[in-house]
């Protein structure tokens, strides 16, 4: 029976069609107005730039640098923020007390730390990873704490009355129970972290997609700029739609818990 599969292909096509339309309009407008490449490149220019960057290995190098930093930063953030957030959330008094401080830190997280990060860690990888970690850590910790606080009291009581030890409480009750907020925190945190990455790379390093943007701007290579922007956009879309959204679906939605609107 082809019915379930056909809609899938159709929906992918529907997703891509607007982009095709956009490219067509772009090409037509540039051709019609004859705007110089210095101001706005033609579709073909950007395509050529993309190919060029791939062939020369530049793209791979930049991608690798950026992705590596995001990976390290986010793994570090998850590993530090989750236990911290849960531990904090587990105590009503502590979380009530420290909530404003955490909120303040979220307000500050990420980009505002760039100057001090470059001061402490110099220019380079270290600073960028720090920024990514920083941006994600606070958002994730705060949301995790909120998530634990939101676990319905009957659930906690049920677990306690079954004699659940502390470690088990953490893994089997608090973590899953806080999951919707944790996923929100991941999404928000990664959003900030990603933006922090781009900003930090523009300001603070010699490799990575942000740096590619920065360099291209200096030479007015608009085709490279737009090519890099497209890649940045595509990367985030992939991360969000193919990683985070399915994660949310497979845990939060599958377990019938409330879903945060994004």
């Amino acid at each position: 029976m082809t019915a379930p599969r056909a809609p899938r292909i159709r929906s992918v096509l529907w997703f891509l069609a607007p982009f095709a339309a956009l490219l067509a309009v772009w090409a037509a407008v540039v051709a019609a107005t004859g705007v110089p490449m210095r101001i706005f490149p033609q579709v073909t220019d950007v395509a050529r730039a993309l190919v060029g960057m791939t062939v020369s290995g530049e793209l791979t190098a930049h991608l690798a640098a950026s992705l590596r930093r995001v990976l390290i930063g986010s793994v570090l953030a998850v590993v530090t923020a989750l236990p911290f957030g849960i531990a904090l959330g587990a105590s009503p008094r502590l979380s009530a007390f420290f909530a404003p401080l955490l909120r303040f830190s979220v307000a500050l997280a990420g980009i505002a730390w760039i100057p001090i990060a470059t001061l402490w860690l110099g220019y380079g990888d270290g600073a960028v990873i720090f920024i990514v970690w920083n941006a994600m850590f606070f958002a994730l910790a705060y949301n995790t704490m909120l998530g634990v606080r939101r676990i319905p009291l009957p659930l906690l009581r049920a677990a306690r009355s079954m004699g659940t030890g502390r470690l088990r409480m953490f893994w089997e009750v608090l973590l899953p129970g806080a999951l919707p907020s944790v996923v929100t925190g991941l999404r928000v945190g990664l959003g900030y972290g990603w933006r922090g990455l781009v900003a930090a790379e523009i300001i603070a390093t010699g490799a990575g997609l942000g740096y590619a943007l920065f360099l291209a701007q200096k030479t007015f290579s608009t085709d490279v700029i737009i090519a890099s922007m497209v890649i940045i956009g595509a990367l985030w879309l992939i991360m969000d739609r193919l990683l985070l959204a399915p994660l949310e679906r497979r845990t939060v939605q599958r377990w019938g818990m409330t879903v945060a609107v994004s």
Binding site: P100, L108, I111, A112, T118, G196, Q217, M229, T258
Partner: protein, 269 residues
């Protein structure tokens, strides 16, 4: 502690100002201690007393208020234009199923191109100018806002629309009386998210475009190694956004929801 003492303490703890500032006391104390003990070299880490002195100096010379007003003015213009563009756009797209289908993937993609990634091309177009910074902030606000509005319109229960129709409401009235209020929590949420990104984009833009503003102040201070000024900048930024969010945005979001008894999650942005 005497019963009188605990009672006073509990009274104090109930006041929101005390609750808000409470956790900062141990942090500031720790900060002061770390600086006094020179756990980190003074070139990298200074104490609250030095930062306060810096603050006094900058205030006296009128530099801080100048930078602050620059930053806030840019944010204000960005927000204004962002709302002027995003609100109508969001509702126009949200009300037309066709428009929604056609533009949704594009909206997602443009939202995904980190606002800050637009700075280089915007600098090519507008130079290192105020326009460039404002453009980025507007962009940053528009997309989350539009996406939130479209999603918000979609989640207005069909039955409410049907109820309105069977009570004789015209299309325009349904929009005004059902869709607008129904989507309002999502609008509030979208504004809050958009501003969160916009705020951060502002700081990054100021650092990169570098003419004035708190972001610029921090970066310039870093350049000359003035740690106290960098710390000061961070604290000012943190306070500003915290105040904006806690005093305006979050209550606005909560007010629409609570007053109408709708169920929502409060997330931190």
């Amino acid at each position: 502690m005497t019963t009188g003492g605990t009672a006073v303490w509990r009274q104090l703890a109930r006041r929101p100002a005390v609750r808000t500032l409470g956790p900062f006391v141990p942090v500031v104390a720790l900060w002061w201690a770390l600086a006094a003990l020179e756990v980190f070299p003074p070139a990298f880490f200074v104490g609250p007393d030095v930062v306060l002195a810096e603050l006094a100096g900058l205030l006296e010379r009128g530099i801080l208020p100048g930078y602050l007003s620059d930053s806030l003015t840019r944010l204000w213009y960005g927000v204004l234009f962002g709302l002027l563009i995003g609100l109508p756009l969001g509702f126009l797209i949200g009300m037309s199923p066709l428009a929604r289908r056609l533009t949704w993937p594009l909206l997602l993609f443009f939202q995904a191109v980190a606002d800050i990634a637009w700075l280089p091309i915007v600098i090519v177009w507008f130079g290192f100018s105020l326009t460039a910074v404002t453009f980025v902030i507007v962009y940053t606000i528009v997309f989350p806002l539009v996406l939130s509005i479209v999603a918000g319109i979609e989640q207005v229960p069909q039955e409410l629309v049907r109820a309105a129709r069977s009570l004789g409401a015209s299309r325009l009235r349904i929009f005004v009386e059902v869709i607008l209020p129904g989507a309002l929590p999502s609008v509030a949420s979208g504004v809050r998210t958009g501003l969160g990104y916009g705020w951060r984009a502002l700081v990054a833009a100021e650092i990169i475009v570098g003419t004035s503003g708190i972001g610029f102040m921090m970066f310039d201070a870093r350049r000359v190694g003035d740690v106290a000024e960098v710390f000061l900048g961070m604290i000012v930024l943190g306070i500003l956004w915290y105040a904006l969010d806690a005093l305006f945005l979050a209550p606005f979001e909560r007010a629409t929801v609570e007053r109408w008894g709708l169920v929502r999650q409060e997330a931190a942005r």
